[in-house]
């Protein structure tokens, strides 16, 4: 069953079409990320679901209950939608427990302490927001949203104002808290790492439309176009020629995957090969194609190599990941592509 359902949702602010016909179904209990660059309409989408603004067309339902269909608009206080904004927006004049208990009836106030335990901040119950660190503020903001037992929690870039190490820690924590409270959550972010590592499903929002909605794995290996492929991670985009479920590329003839109708035989296509799909073998090996290292970049957990493939007419380089730190520029290697590759008809790429 889907917890949140958006149908043909459109919103215009001033003279700008911020959202144009967004369809989205978020399964109950899942953590879904909406991934988009700034200005893509992510925050507007959340504000519509929370009820802080009204849509121009379409419907929004939660658990089958209509929140907004352009005629009947449920006010924010009746939606049961928790909202965690970017900077937490804790009430500055209330201590932590009072912030968490804000949405609770007098008799349920004790629940605030359960939530404090859940977020692991029981010691700080009597602190004021300005006495908390950024990460602690965000945890309290989440607890406050969860306190009302919301059908859905909306997280608006909750980690973006934190530093990197804290962000990773808090991300894991938030995912755990949401799982433990089995709450449906919608997370808005511009950080593809965050979306891929945290979410069960990722919806990519671009120019007011959802262009792809899939699991992180599918999104990463089968992105809709070359632009998205590059946005989601390091990508080698090569030219190729389609040939009977395979594609001929500078790295050989590879099994192909595509979206929709297959291209015509012999049609020129773009090919996505992720760096980790390229397997390296010693130069003495018989497998794969020969090439040599042009440049190598050390990343601690792995090494990113720029490789030039021999005996090819194109001067194109490809990037590959390896754990082998012994390969310096000029070294000869053999490379082989593993697994099927994603292709797009040339006209569809951008």
């Amino acid at each position: 069953m889907s917890a949140i359902a958006l149908q043909e949702v459109s919103k215009r602010i001033g003279h700008t079409d911020v959202l144009t016909g967004v369809d989205l179904e978020v399964p109950a209990g899942s953590l879904t990320a909406i991934l988009g660059a700034s200005g893509s309409g992510k925050t507007t989408l959340l504000r519509l679901i929370a009820g802080f603004t009204q849509l121009d067309a379409g419907t929004i339902t939660i658990g089958g209950r209509t929140l907004d269909d352009g005629h009947t608009v449920l006010r924010p206080q009746r939606r049961g939608v928790g909202y965690v904004p970017q900077d937490g927006a804790l009430f500055p004049h209330l201590i932590v427990t009072a912030n968490i208990a804000f949405g609770l009836a007098r008799t349920e106030r004790s629940r605030a302490h359960e939530l404090l335990d859940l977020i692991g901040l029981s010691d700080l119950a009597r602190r004021y927001p300005h006495q908390l660190s950024g990460g602690q503020q965000q945890r309290v903001a989440l607890a406050r949203a969860l306190a009302i037992g919301p059908a859905v929690v909306l997280l608006d870039e909750p980690f973006s104002s934190l530093d990197a190490s804290l962000r990773i820690e808090l991300r894991q924590d938030v995912a755990r808290i949401l799982r433990e409270s089995s709450t449906t959550a919608l997370l808005v972010t511009h950080d593809q790492q965050e979306a891929l590592s945290l979410a069960d499903l990722v919806a990519v929002l671009r120019d007011g439309e959802i262009v792809q909605y899939a699991t992180p794995q599918e999104l990463y290996t089968q992105p809709l176009d070359a632009h998205l492929a590059g946005f989601l991670g390091d990508a080698n985009i090569l030219d190729g020629t389609f040939d009977d479920a395979h594609v001929a590329t500078a790295l050989g003839r590879l099994p192909a995957r595509w979206h929709g109708e297959p291209p015509a035989k012999g049609a020129p296509v773009n090919v996505l090969i992720r760096p980790e799909q390229i397997e390296l073998h010693p130069a003495t090996s018989e497998k794969g194609l020969t090439g040599q290292v042009v440049r190598s970049g050390y990343h601690g957990h792995d090494v990113l190599l720029h490789l030039q493939v021999d005996h090819q007419a194109t001067a194109e380089q490809v990037r590959a990941r390896t754990r082998d730190t012994g390969l310096s520029p000029g070294a000869a290697v053999r490379l082989e592509v593993r697994g099927p590759v994603r292709i797009w008809a040339v006209s569809a790429s951008c």
Partner: protein, 472 residues
């Protein structure tokens, strides 16, 4: 909310229209006769010279004092901030009386400059200190790290950060000087305001005409202020700004001495003089204790009512302009600041005109006086309320509603508690200012009603009269 604010703005701007009607009722010949004479040039020169001198001195003193309390770690910082602001609470006519009784032969311009500078530098000190407190000291550190020296950092980084606050403070100083009556009357320094007051007693028609150049001067200053470009400073998340380090004793001692001298001149001299005169004077010249009691009660009541009305009117205007800002709304809000250009005497005259011409029922009632206080001090109330409205970002009320609270509950539990300090500050500020208001009170107080200010005025006039008799 917008319609309500528009109605409030209209009511506030009514004196502007009324004073023109008042002047016109005297006839064009009267206006010409009053305005186009050498006396007007004399008054204009007097008024402008004094305003410029006081503004310049107040800017220097106020900014320096703000720097001392905000950017150096002087001991007992909080005490100093209170003491430095204290002169605002002492009415300028009292300060004028004090200095006049110490040095009766002091030159008019010199005395007026001294008294007004000591009385108005807090108007610069307060906004500049607030701006310094808001400004991130990291900016300075960054400038130092870029190899820019202390003086150039002051000029290129710190002064631009406080520029808006400084100019805003100076505008307030100029407007205060334009509006002052009591102190100049005592020090025998003539400005437009004292002239209007004199004319009002002998030739009311001329007073209306004379108000026009005064109002134009005020409007000119306000227009200049409005033309200053302002950058919107984005408020960052609350964070701890480190306190400055304690200065070395060598620097600290002169700083403390200078601040002590300033406070001594601004607060010590007037209070000391008053105490001295109280102890010295014959009991017959002091007002009876009974009238003092009733005067105190009248003062507190009218001031509190005026402050209450001003803050109540300011709340919708502040909420409107902050929550949904659009050009007409901003213009509407700005228009209410125009009353700043109207000195108390002009507002009082316009209300007298209104009552005698159209609403005779309220003439000589406290309604007019309370209305005058509210109109006169509305900008003060609005500034306070607006700054606290900025403390309640829409996001907070959004979140509160998403947690299932209805708008009235959100207003009571989030908006009001966060606004409360600003509302209270606005009330106190208007109240304190109204308590010492002399000019409008002299004109508008119903017959038989005395406030502390008018009592003091009557007392000092008697003393001055007695002194003159003795001398002759």
């Amino acid at each position: 909310m917008t319609a309500l604010s528009a109605a409030i703005a209209l009511a506030l701007l009514a004196p502007l229209v009324l004073i023109v009607l008042d002047a016109r009722s005297g006839g064009w010949g009267e206006i010409q006769g009053v305005l186009f004479r050498s006396r007007s040039v004399f008054l204009l020169r007097h008024t402008v010279t004094l305003a410029a001198l006081v503004a310049g001195l107040a800017a220097i003193i106020g900014t320096t004092a703000a720097w001392c309390t905000e950017r150096t770690a002087i001991p007992a910082r909080r005490v100093w901030t209170v003491l430095l602001v204290a002169p605002v609470a002492i009415p300028d006519f009292v300060v004028g009386y004090a200095w006049h009784s110490i040095a009766p032969r002091m030159n008019g311009l010199l005395a007026a400059t001294l008294v007004m500078t000591l009385g108005t530098y807090p108007l610069v000190y307060l906004p500049v200190a607030a701006a310094l407190r808001r400004a991130d000291p990291a900016m300075q550190d960054i400038a130092y790290s870029l190899g820019v020296g202390r003086l150039r950092t002051l000029i290129r980084v710190t002064l631009p950060l406080i520029r808006t606050a400084l100019l805003g403070g100076c505008v307030l100083v100029v407007l205060t000087v334009l509006a002052e009556y009591g102190a100049f009357e005592i020090l025998r320094y003539q400005t437009f305001t004292t002239e209007i007051f004199t004319e009002f007693q002998f030739e009311p028609q001329a007073a209306g005409a004379l108000s026009i150049p005064l109002v134009l001067l005020g409007l000119l200053v306000l227009t200049g202020d409005a033309l200053i470009p302002r950058r919107t400073v984005t408020q960052t998340a609350p964070r701890r700004i480190p306190r400055p380090e304690r200065p070395r004793a060598l620097i600290a001692a002169p700083t403390l001495l200078a601040l002590a001298a300033l406070v001594g001149l601004g607060v010590g001299v007037p209070i000391g003089t008053l105490v001295y005169w109280m102890a010295q004077s014959q009991h017959t010249t002091l007002p009876a204790a009974a009238t003092l009691g009733s005067a105190t009660w009248a003062t507190l009541r009218y001031s509190a009512l005026g402050a209450g009305v001003a803050v109540t009117l300011a709340l919708p205007v502040a909420m409107m302009s902050f929550r949904r800002s659009s050009t007409p709304r901003i213009l509407l809000e700005r228009s209410t600041y125009v009353t700043q250009a109207l000195p108390g005497v002009v507002i009082a005259l316009s209300l007298v005109f209104l009552a005698t011409r159209y609403l005779y029922g309220v003439y000589q009632t406290s309604v007019l006086l309370i209305a005058a206080y509210a109109i006169l001090h509305f900008p003060l109330a609005l500034v306070c309320v607006k700054s606290s409205v900025a403390q309640v970002p829409a996001q907070l009320t959004d979140v509160a509603r998403s947690l299932g609270r209805r708008p009235p509950a959100v207003f009571l539990r989030i908006t009001l508690p966060l606004l409360a300090p600003g509302l209270l500050a606005g009330f106190c500020l208007v109240f304190l200012t109204a308590v010492t208001e002399l000019t409008a009170t002299l004109v508008l107080a119903p017959i038989g009603v005395h406030t502390l200010a008018t009592q003091f005025w009557a007392y000092q006039s008697e003393v001055a009269y007695g002194a003159r008799l003795m001398r002759s």
